[in-house]
Symmetry: C2
Subunit: 488 residues, 2 copies
């Protein structure tokens, strides 16, 4: 941009501004930077040094090279909807915003793929191809505004990932700017199962710590011939949980199998998209099956039978697309809906083996009682991806810390049940320490050493994802030295 307009003496702001074209391509005044001090994880706030808006891959590469050569910490940001703080500039980073790189570059229906820039909004892809009978499967609840670049960074999931898999299952190729400024293409030409190491899988879900994705080839799918959606109300959580297991063990793979508990239902019914769920039930299931028409009815009948055998109070099939859409809007705005019944909430994201659902839900109830905080549960029951929502009031001194602790205990319960600490929201800064629930030091070192290869100066999105690997290395070196003394 035109340098003469800049009102700063900072040479780095001038240096960065010279690398991005067009008007308004850099922000550096404090009042502009405040909008970038956090993402969807709002409990930590830090101002970036600047926010730059490159228009293409070359500008991204120039910015990265500039930051690397000048020792400036930097990170990439999409729509900023991430829930674990991955885009928070905790080191006063230069934020490389990808929102100007928002084009749909090509659609190849015959080979079922599309190429998008990272700032392209998730739902726009389906909207762009639905008239031709195609769609993009990963559907995080934020899909109306989150970007596909951000989805790649976090390996985003969504309600329909039970049948169709998470983002990594739909990425065929990436163009990436590495922290040294090199531009590489992986998943050559959008062919999956590329030879060599699976960099595609490694980059997807690496939470913006290995490189900046500048182009994405995604798989697109043909719309299923038919879909049907079932809503089932249960008086006991155990019956709902058991119905989930029963459906899966019949060999049915629903497109989606969602569960909400009583507090969650209270929230969604008090918010923008109420649909009249009874407020005295303990659990509801939202179950969708899709595929060729001939098979759907049989599956739906099996699902209805399962629900009845598990004492369902009421079970119904969506009358039409309108009703289906209303049920989904009610579900998909569920996190935000908590704002209608609580001043603040913290969403967690644990994964458990499906069979441990009842016991982990019981443990979450105990945690709720121990901390004196209500915890709502809205989750992808089919794949065991829980979302406990800890409700709290940040105005009450100490309650934020209590909520964080309660959330962490929920993750511990998941890990102890043979599960994991995140299914789709990522680790970011939020769950760094909880990584120790699932990985030992060797495992953390094996991972973080990969980061060092890509990112030897640790300037790209530093301090995220891993609990102090340096400390692990120290411990290990100490241990080895001790063993040698003992062995000698």
């Amino acid at each position: 941009m035109a340098l003469k307009k800049l009102k700063t003496a900072d040479p780095h702001i001038k240096g960065l501004a010279a690398l991005v074209s067009g008007p308004n391509s850099i922000l550096y005044h404090k009042e502009d930077l405040i909008a970038y001090d956090c993402d969807g994880f709002t409990l930590h706030k830090h101002l970036p040094k600047a926010v730059v808006f490159p228009k293409d891959t070359e500008e991204v590469a120039k910015l990265v090279t500039y930051c690397s050569e000048n020792g400036l910490p930097f990170l990439a940001r999409g729509a900023g909807t991430g829930l674990s703080g991955g885009a928070i500039p905790i080191n006063g980073e230069v934020i490389i915003s990808l929102v100007r790189m928002k084009r749909l570059l090509s659609v190849d229906l015959e080979n079922r793929r599309a190429v998008v820039e990272p700032g392209f909004v998730n739902l726009k892809l389906t909207n762009s191809i639905s008239d031709k009978g195609y769609y993009y499967a990963p559907d995080p609840s934020s899909q109306y505004c989150c970007t596909i670049g951000g989805n790649v960074a976090e390996n985003a999931g969504g309600a329909h990932c039970l049948k169709y898999g998470v983002t990594t299952n739909h990425i065929l190729g990436l163009e990436v700017v590495l922290p040294n400024g090199d531009i590489i293409e992986i998943g050559p030409n959008g062919i999956p199962d590329a030879p060599g190491y699976d960099l595609l899988g490694l980059l997807t879900g690496s939470e913006g710590t290995l490189g900046i994705v500048t182009k994405i080839t995604v798989r697109i799918l043909k719309n299923p011939e038919a879909k049907q959606t079932v809503l089932a109300y249960f008086d006991r959580v155990e019956d709902g949980s058991q119905a989930v297991s029963d459906i899966i063990s019949k060999g049915i793979v629903p497109a989606a199998l969602e569960m909400m508990d009583k507090i969650a239902i209270e929230g969604v019914e008090a918010a923008a998209f109420p649909v009249g769920h009874p407020k005295d039930i303990e659990a509801l299931l939202l179950i969708e099956v899709d595929g060729i028409s001939a098979g759907i009815e049989e599956q739906i009948n099996q699902i209805l039978d399962v629900c009845r055998a598990r004492n369902v109070r009421e079970v119904k099939v969506a009358r039409d697309e309108l009703e289906r859409g209303r049920w989904w809007a009610n579900r998909k705005t569920g996190f935000g809906a908590m704002g209608a019944i609580s001043p603040d909430y913290l969403v967690q994201d644990g994964v458990i083996p499906r069979s441990r659902l009842p016991e982990v839900l019981n443990r979450i109830n105990e945690i709720s009682a121990e901390y004196g905080l209500r915890i709502a549960n809205i989750f992808h029951a089919g794949d065991g991806n829980l979302h406990p929502l800890v409700l709290f009031d940040a105005r009450i001194p100490g309650e934020t810390e209590k909520a964080l602790k309660a959330g962490s205990e929920c993750l511990k319960a998941c890990a102890d049940a043979g599960g994991s600490i995140t299914g789709e929201h990522g680790v970011g800064i939020e769950k760094k320490e909880e990584m120790r629930f699932v990985f030992n030091d060797d495992e953390i070192i094996a991972q973080s050493s990969i980061r060092e290869v890509f990112n030897p100066h640790n300037l790209l999105n530093a301090g995220k994802l891993f609990p102090s690997p340096g400390r692990c290395v120290e411990i290990k070196t100490e241990l080895k030295a001790q063993q040698e003394v003992i062995g000698s």
Copy 2:
């Protein structure tokens, strides 16, 4: 093992033997080692230093530590059925054979997983759980003898990977011995989408260059309620290719969609499992659909309609499981069947976008004519994974080299069509140079630098997978230096 039995003065043989328990747990005589001088890629042969047979993870870790500390090159081997030479000891490696680690450790039907040791044979898993209605999806043609550890190393595919995905889509967790002797678990507790980097994806398909897998948690699937198999004979390859595209574009995802051309049919009909395919057709398709019964018939009718619209000569549905089994045995032994019509053959493994099938098959015909060598085609048409089989006679001087060149040109044709050089057989030593068809120097460096992290002394399976990365780095350094001179 008991050291006194060893008839060698080699201190390393003694050192290794001391680390493995039980009788016959080390081979070191030349006549024993000959059986290990190559794998399924037989054009290069090298003797290993020794072959050791650890019984458990701890013994593997001890062997790895010993090799690392003593500077001995080493590699892991399963059944040795790999087709790209990944298990060939080109540096006189110590081979760590995993065939004694062949237990099925646990089956968890409720959560749909099983845990196996790496030497467990692929097909045995399905055989162990089929009576309960479950199976393991990846089905390489060698599944009756190949091991799941080898499948992980090569990210093996198979006929049914069109619908169900390749090995990486079915691996939930791994225990791995790293080259430094550390034992790590990834995909904690078999939960997919683990936090942190996707080491599971990185290790799967890394061709034994990053670590040695000692335990594998796999996903198991419920048997489909029904399956139907169609055989279609075409007088023109183009019609067969077009039928493939038509089936996919109807939104049908067959479980398998295989194609064989005229020479391949000549081979399979002359070999162990002939089924009476007409020898004057140009192409056949073997198409299988599975799922719930209600949907199958409609899909089969659509497939029959597509074939008829594309001038099929004859199309039929398998009468029963027996006929279906015979068709599959005929197909799955197709590579070996080439031995019935040619003294030698070289199987290649390219991937192309499905829409480029007719033109790439034409190009393969041209290559066949240019080199004066017959090329049969047996392949996974549904996912564009070609297997050109170059027929040759190694006794004719120069013909092996000609076959290798023709094979390489087939891969070039795939890469030029926007495809890749391997779908499921791996790179190994066979296709190292062909990596340059799909990756530039930066891309090769990005991959090979990961290897250096895991394997800093380059003792584990060195010289495989990448074309001399050292040379790439040199080139890059030279280029940078030149640019600096020009820029100054």
